[in-house]
């Protein structure tokens, strides 16, 4: 996994190694808080904050963290930033904090974050780790936004609280319930897999099976 350009650490996380659609990590918040666009944005920002600062610290401190206690040390760093994000959100956006319920504290166990520390930040230089963290955050947020957009528009007939279809629209309530999250995520993963397969076939070269990347991260 040699990056040719620094930007590659960032860009590959948007599509090729998208944390949700390809690595299939962090599904709990992806399904749970995407019933409105506002919640999806808030979750994306909170995860970005925690992920970038955790990667920064883990990567800078990797020489001082003994291998035996590395997971505990990562969790400690992550939990610190999650708590800060939780308090900040509660102070600045009480309504969103209320709507997200327990899912802000649960960022501590978001596998995207621990996964990036273990797989990337703990063995790469600081600036690459921060780029990787930023890329994963943006990739995660994009998926959350798509999910939140689809679910809010279909399930409530609104986008960011503004009515889209007018007063006569009968909302598909199921879309903002948990099953709607699974429907949306499933369709999204389906579309992405079809596109990736087409591309791989079109590349004509005896294509590497698309699966190989997914497997390593699963």
């Amino acid at each position: 996994m040699k990056a040719a350009r620094p930007a590659d650490d960032f860009l590959r996380c948007l599509w090729q190694e998208n944390p949700v659609l390809v690595q299939v990590l962090g599904l709990c918040p992806t399904l749970a808080v995407t019933n409105t666009v506002a919640n999806a944005v808030a979750m994306g920002i909170a995860v970005a904050f925690v992920l970038i600062f955790s990667s920064l610290f883990v990567s800078s401190l990797k020489r001082y963290i003994p291998n035996e206690v590395r997971i505990s040390a990562y969790i400690m760093i992550i939990a610190t930033f999650v708590t800060i994000a939780d308090m900040t959100l509660q102070a600045t956006q009480p309504a969103i904090h209320k709507a997200m319920g327990p899912f802000v504290p649960l960022i501590v166990v978001n596998c995207i974050i621990l996964g990036r520390q273990e797989a990337f930040a703990s063995r790469n230089p600081v600036w690459r780790s921060v780029l990787d963290a930023a890329g994963n955050s943006v990739g995660f947020t994009i998926v959350l936004l798509i999910m939140g957009g689809v679910r809010e528009v279909l399930g409530s007939g609104t986008f960011l609280g503004y009515s889209v279809f007018g007063p006569h629209y009968e909302p598909w309530v199921v879309m903002i319930l948990p099953p709607g999250g699974f429907f949306t995520l499933g369709s999204l993963v389906l579309v992405v897999n079809v596109v990736r397969r087409r591309r791989a076939e079109r590349a004509a070269v005896p294509a590497l099976p698309v699966r190989s990347e997914t497997k390593e991260a699963a």
């Binding site: 509660q90 621990l114 996964g115």
Partner: protein, 219 residues
Amino acid sequence: MSAPPAAEHAPPRVPAARLLTTLGTGGALAGALLVFAYQATQPTILANKRKELAQAIAEVLRAPQRYDTLYVYRNVLQRELPPGVDPRGLERVYLGYGANGERIGFAVESNAAGFQDRIGLIFGYDPATGRLLGMKVLQSTETPGLGDKIYKDTAFVGQFSRVAVPLRGVKRGAGRGDSAEVDMITGATISSRAVIRAINDALARLRPLLDGYRAEASR
């Protein structure tokens, strides 16, 4: 989550003291950081909560001129607690006054188990008429689209601004025109019942105190 350790070249063992120092130092630093964050955010969080409560009280008492906080202490409503009594943890009700100093009624907080979690609400009660003045849900994780109608459905919420207590939930259209009837929400019976139960429970406990509260003449 972690990969299986590479057995072929195991790293040299690190002394336990080193592990303890690392985690201890890290924990102390993290703790210090959190104390700082807590102190920076706590005033705003508390101010937000106070503002939210004040708004809710104003809503369920129909915009009172001012309100007093009364504590339920030794089964009596008290405006001033005896010295040395910690007001935290005491149940409180709020007595609202109109523009001419007349009493509007009491705002009371209550909660009951809903469909997913406890539903917290505040309601206004007028002892003079024995009717409610309003109801506002403060805390709920009810199902979006169904249970959340207990605060999104204005027809349902509106009923609580005139109904007599104790409340009796009825199926929509099945009532007999009784003044204590509340039409429950179709598809959200458990949530509707929880709202009614929260109000009835609180009043069953507090109604003698509220009805009997005769402090110094209202100014």
